[in-house]
């Protein structure tokens, strides 16, 4: 029952707090691409890979009181931050789910901005293409973000570092 919800709560138990919906979307996608068994379906949207299923599931977790959503006023926009609650931890403790240890990957992702994770997740979305084709695709699908060569190179290094830390 609610195995996919429990997997997300397991993520929050490790991440403690996630700042921003966009960052959350991209973190879960990148972890999926690292073979963490999240099952939310992603599609490519205006701002990169996005999962409506994840958005709905987060709303359910908040409504159930398992995850707390904090709305932060950032003057020209609102940012939503998420943290697992005591009820969420109690629920999680009753579950035995088969999840790998994601601590290292989550720590690496937490340190990065949502803009950077948008770039990384978009690059991973096209991981069936050659490196050059991925870069070309980034400029096609993300013309407004103006990602620089330095950022793209940094993203390659970051992807390599994620892959260097295999799941336990």
């Amino acid at each position: 029952m609610l195995t996919n919800h429990a997997k997300l709560m397991q993520f929050f138990a490790v991440a403690e707090e996630v700042t921003g919906r966009k960052k959350l979307q991209k973190m879960i996608y990148i972890l999926q691409k690292c073979h963490v068994p999240f099952e939310e379906k992603y599609q490519f949207h205006f701002y990169g890979p996005y999962s409506e299923e994840l958005t709905l599931r987060m709303e359910e977790l908040c409504n159930l009181g398992f995850v707390a959503e904090m709305k932060e006023d950032k003057s020209n926009y609102y940012q939503y931050n998420y943290r697992i609650t005591g009820d969420g931890l109690d629920f999680l403790n009753q579950f035995s789910i088969d999840m790998p240890d994601i601590k290292t990957q989550v720590e690496l992702l937490q340190r990065r901005s949502s803009r950077f994770l948008e770039l990384v997740s978009t690059m991973l979305y096209f991981d069936d293409l050659s490196k050059d084709a991925v870069v070309e695709k980034i400029h096609i699908v993300k013309p407004k973000q103006n990602y620089t060569s330095d950022e793209i190179n940094e993203a390659w290094t970051f992807i390599a570092s994620l892959q260097k830390n295999p799941l336990q």
Partner: protein, 436 residues
């Protein structure tokens, strides 16, 4: 004349209950409709199991695909002399609209979940692979099939083209809301599409709505909200969907345990192995699925036999509202009681959540998760819809979610009346003794 410019001698029309007529003048579109891959969509219902709740909902992906094409055709007609619109993209838009659902299979939501498939992946394969559709697209130009594929995958460079097929107010949604409302017979789901088409404007890389058309868009958002809860998420439809998923799980489980089926499940084997190629995928339509479900009613395995009999004869599971936070202990007790009573809870005690559904609400996209609907104000400023419309703001602020617990009430009622198991199960489910 180049194939891409070829026109039929006479315009062809399809009579359509939603748009009155679907007009076809391009030879390419006419040829695409005639392909086996597109004709296959006639044998796949748009709403899967919804016809078990709303008996009129028998319309197909074929109907819907023609409808999306027709809406895009009308939008392009309105856009043809407007700035920001590239007339050269016309045929690309029409082809992408027509083919956007080409990879859907029978009951695709359940099939995708159980067999880990993605219909969009198959849409790409049909468009780019060795198919009749691909041959036609290649005749337009060598790179045309890839462009159509990119538009449908939302990775095409011209975002304006993509947004006609896929955005928060796109031709896909505008067709299915009206078509599903028409065929289910519900009174919600209707909105003034003609008005919306008249106030759509291409601006840079998105379609925006002239602010004077805001009320028509409010109606569209309301209908989307109503259809979600009243049709798409109807608890009886979900019951049928739960049983369908469990049939697929059971059949796969039996195959993995080397169970000998009375009827060899030839069409399902690559699905069970999660190694489905395009040829296998295209062979499976609803008629094949129903054939197996009919046959599996004769199987010796009691679970597969019972679930198929339920699905074919609409003997669905009953449900109660369920709050996983407050009722976790009850659920664990029920799970054990079902096991003790010899009713496998893996198949007969199922929690279903609103997030398990492939439909969505309007999202204002506050943190750039999704592109919202923008209103074009008289001073040419763009404003996000919910910031300007109280109605949309109130709906998009509501995060209504829902969980239900499904179970076979008929089996429980047939249990021995003196059984303490029965008494306790009914207490947990209904908060009292056996419900009539």
């Amino acid at each position: 004349m180049a194939y891409k410019d070829e026109q039929l001698n006479e315009e062809k029309v399809f009579k359509d209950p939603v748009h009155r007529y679907v007009h076809v003048k391009d030879q390419v579109i006419w040829d695409l409709i005639a392909t086996p891959e597109f004709q296959r969509l006639r044998r796949i219902k748009q709403l899967g199991t919804t016809n078990l709740t709303f008996h009129g909902a028998e319309h197909s992906r074929f109907n819907h695909s023609l409808g999306v094409y027709e809406i895009v055709r009308r939008i392009i007609y309105n856009f043809q002399d407007r700035p920001h619109w590239n007339k050269d993209e016309r045929l690309l838009c029409l082809c992408a609209a027509l083919l956007h659902d080409l990879g859907h299979g029978p009951f695709s939501h359940s099939f995708e979940k159980v067999f880990k498939l993605d219909h969009e992946h198959f849409t790409q394969q049909i468009i780019l692979g060795d198919t009749f559709v691909n041959k036609i697209l290649k005749r337009v130009s060598p790179g045309f099939a890839q462009k159509v594929s990119d538009v449908i995958a939302k990775t095409y460079e011209d975002k304006l083209v993509v947004s006609l097929i896929s955005s928060q107010i796109d031709a896909d949604r505008m067709d299915y809301l009206q078509r599903d409302a028409y065929f289910t017979g519900v009174s919600y789901g209707h909105f003034d599409m003609e008005r919306i088409l008249r106030v759509m404007r291409p601006i840079d890389d998105q379609v925006v709505i002239k602010s004077s058309g805001m009320h028509a868009v409010e109606d569209y958002i309301m209908s989307r909200y109503q259809m979600y809860w009243q049709v798409y998420f109807h608890p009886v439809t979900r019951s049928a969907e739960v049983i369908l998923s469990k049939i697929l799980h059971r059949a796969k489980h039996l195959f993995e345990k080397n169970y000998t089926f009375k009827l060899e499940p030839t069409h399902f084997i690559s699905f069970f192995k999660e190694d489905v190629d395009l040829a296998d995928y295209l062979k499976l339509d609803e008629s094949i699925v129903f054939y197996y479900f009919q046959a599996w009613q004769e199987e010796d395995d009691p679970v597969l036999h019972d679930l198929c009999e339920r699905f074919m004869n609409r003997r669905l599971f009953k449900y109660i509202e369920f709050n996983p936070n407050q009722q976790m202990n009850e659920w664990m007790e029920l799970y054990k009681l079902f096991q003790d009573a010899g009713i496998d809870p893996e198949y007969y005690l199922v929690v279903d959540s609103s997030s398990d559904l492939p439909y969505d609400f309007y999202r204002p996209g506050e943190e750039e998760e999704r592109l919202p609907i923008h209103l074009l104000m008289p001073n040419n400023e763009l404003k996000e819809l919910s910031r300007h419309s109280d109605i949309v703001e109130s709906i998009s602020g509501k995060k209504r979610t829902d969980h239900k617990l499904y179970f076979p009430a008929d089996v429980l009622h047939r249990m021995n009346d003196k059984s303490h198991l029965k008494k306790r199960i009914f207490e947990l489910l209904y908060g009292q003794g056996e419900s009539k």
